[in-house]
Amino acid sequence: MNPLTSLVEAALFSASTPLSLNELKKLDRESSKDEFVAALGELKDHYADGHGVELVEIAEGYQIITRPEHADAIVRSHIVQKPRKLSPAAMETLAIIAYRQPVGRAEIEEIRGVAADGVLRSLQERGLIDPVERGEGLGRPMLYGTTSGFLELLGLNDVRELPQLDELSVELTPPAPPQLADD
């Protein structure tokens, strides 16, 4: 491989956007436009020969991309996707359920001070919580608990292996029972 072709390959590989011929030219002021075009041609032919990637020219410039026939396997294998983290709201709701299960929506909302239905639905869709029973009282509210999927993610065998709350700086105390105002 020609040294200029090698440089163009490194530049296209490391760039976060397609590079135009003018941008590529900044790599080496000694080389002419024609030489860059030739290098791009060499690279394109090189990849065309059975490689997993190819050199394409799109509106914004040149780019090395994955060949479409491999895209499926890569997407399916999840390997290039960063694992997702839960949102803070979801984490807080999950923490409350983990420590207070079985617990109903009203109690979660009481503790967090905001509506919980959306978060509960998405935690349930992700297989982290499940309705476990119906509680007492008006409308027999659904009570939630954590699932085995939750334990697997944390590498625990049992929810009792969660750190005990008295080891934390503050305790997650149940909300004070509503008091009737005297006045």
Partner: protein, 241 residues
Amino acid sequence: MIAPQTADQGNTFVVALDQFEGPLDLLLNLIRQQEIEITDIPIARITDQFLLAIDSLGLNQAADYLEMAALLLRIKIQMLLPRPIDDADWEDPRAELVRRLLEYEQIKEVVVWIGARAEHHSDRFARGWAPPEPELPPQPLTLDIAGVLKAVEDVIAAIPQPVLHRVVVRPLDIEGARNRINHLLEGSGTTTFREIIETEPTVAFVISTLLVLLEMAREGFVSLAQSEPFGVFEISRESAN
């Protein structure tokens, strides 16, 4: 009796005004600059130089540096105490400080190695362009205990002041209830309360249905009947109208 040493401030030593990484760094710097044998530090002299240095560098307010100054002064006093004749039992009061200085110096050497290595590797670039994230399937989820504990602490921090009562306005769906009743009456002309409210009614819908039925009965559109106490609540269209 050993005469207390006076600070030989006439000694020239240069303290670079660079930021030191901490009291150990400054101390090590003083020692290395004067090519002092680290295992036999002239503690009185070094203490005075340290105090002078933190004063001139404006570090004499920083707790970390003051703590070191206090430690140096304590060692200095211990060194001045008369030693037992039998030296075998004497423990050098500088020993722990020497150990810490050596340990710190070792870290500094590792830092040089890491810095060079990172600099060397910073010439190698990874793939820059990230393909757009596909819509599906959902990405794997990560979760760890530390995250859960952090969330618990966030919850505790965010617990609001106790609320005595909260009135939630739930709109009644009068129109919907009337449509549903009319729809059910279209066929045979009869229906039941249970059928109207279905299996999982909301409180608002039950109340709406009840209000609509009472209103329709008052207007003479339907008649309400119950064949026995606590029996099925039957609704039938008044054919006369």
